[in-house]
């Protein structure tokens, strides 16, 4: 479920840079809607990234990560054609996994 992510991964000089845009509201639980009701907290809590099926990065997030989160990180090794996959799990148990190929 959830909307697709945008993942870009490019390899240069033995380092693969992975950039991810996620589609998520990241509600803090503090915001009120137009009728004054508090919008319940709803945010991505865990992120996992794999390079060729090996976990290379995990993260834990709170609601202070911005809406439609952006994430960039660097992994040693990796080459064109390698497979990158990124998964998230949010505070309501929803999850999403998307893949990209290293260029």
């Amino acid at each position: 479920m959830g909307h697709p992510m945008k993942i870009r991964a490019s390899s240069k000089d033995g380092v693969t840079e992975i950039k991810v845009l996620m589609n998520h509201e990241m509600e803090t639980g503090f915001r009120k809607d137009s009728s004054g009701n508090v919008v319940p907290a709803w945010f991505i809590r865990e992120v996992t990234a794999k390079l060729n099926d090996k976990i290379v990065m995990t993260a834990q997030w709170g609601p202070s990560v911005s809406k439609n989160p952006y994430l960039a990180f660097k992994v040693k090794g990796g080459k064109a054609g390698d497979k990158v996959s990124v998964s998230w799990v949010d505070s309501q148990g929803d999850t999403r996994t998307d893949e990209a190929t290293v260029t």
Binding site: H3, P4, K19, L21, N23, S66, K67, N68, Y70, A72
Partner: protein, 269 residues
């Protein structure tokens, strides 16, 4: 001699004060520039571009067909480069239309959708989100293409003239017109630079950067939403979505922007 003794240090002090103030100003401007640069790498608008493309290609409406046969001015089904030549006159509707009003036409004619619901829906509702996503997709297909809006037909020139007059039209509790903020080069509201929309330079930078992702609200805004919120801040009543008022202003901006390269979708504060 005595005068010089007093005046020289005074002048130096004043000049120094000005230099310090200027340096502070430059530092702020530089910092804001750094902030904007950091945002550009990874524009969430891309997410909307994808969902817009999906909506464009997915069969929908009572007739269960996609929008792929929609004529945006360059022939049925041509999306590439179409946004850069809008608004333009369309023979089938006998109207000058922008991208968003043209999408409404195609939804109505191709898909059999009753578009009144889409026109009347508030911004931020699923209906308007869909229209914004589609406009984002269409605009992205003109990225890097020079704006080329024609005023050759009488209805196009007329729309431009009406837009120009609207641009300077004052009203409301605050006496504002569009020109109050966008009439002169080099002005700001708070820290936001205000493009002078009657000039090639100002219109060129503004027109080519919408639709844009607004980080303040985490929303994707098309030009219709942009104009709608300008009128809200102007203390005017609400412009009707895709009405001639909005298209006339778009025509004024787009034609003034002719030659500038489309840089959509954009990202804004």
């Amino acid at each position: 001699m005595r005068w010089r003794k007093i005046l020289v240090p005074l002048a130096v002090a004043t000049a120094l004060g000005a230099v310090v103030a200027r340096a502070e100003e430059d530092k702020s401007a530089q910092s804001i520039e750094q902030y904007r640069e950091a945002l550009k790498d990874g524009n969430p608008a891309e997410l909307y571009e994808s969902s817009g493309e999906e909506l464009w290609k997915k069969p929908a409406g009572p007739k269960n067909v996609s929008l792929e046969k929609c004529d945006l001015g360059l022939g049925a089904g041509v999306v590439k480069g179409a946004y850069a030549q809008l608004p333009r006159y369309f023979k089938d509707t006998d109207k000058v239309q922008d991208a968003e009003s043209r999408v409404l036409t195609c939804m109505s004619t191709l898909q059999g959708v009753d578009v009144a619901k889409y026109v009347n829906a508030s911004f931020g509702t699923p209906e308007k989100d869909d229209l914004n996503a589609i406009a984002t997709y269409i605009s992205g297909q003109s990225k890097g293409v020079p704006v080329k809006v024609s005023l050759a037909l009488p209805k196009e020139q007329q729309m431009y003239d009406l837009g120009k007059r609207m641009f300077y039209y004052q009203g409301g509790s605050h006496d504002f017109s569009c020109a109050t903020c966008h009439g002169e080069e080099g002005r700001r509201i708070r820290l936001q630079d205000l493009p002078a929309l009657a000039t090639k330079k100002g219109a060129g930078s503004a027109w080519t950067s919408w639709p844009a992702y607004r980080v303040s609200a985490g929303q994707m805004w098309g030009m219709q939403w942009r104009i709608n919120d300008c009128f809200r801040q102007q203390r005017f009543p609400e412009p009707v979505y895709a009405s001639d008022v909005t298209i006339a202003l778009s025509m004024f901006m787009a034609a003034n922007a002719n030659g500038a390269l489309m840089d959509t979708p954009g990202i804004k504060r």
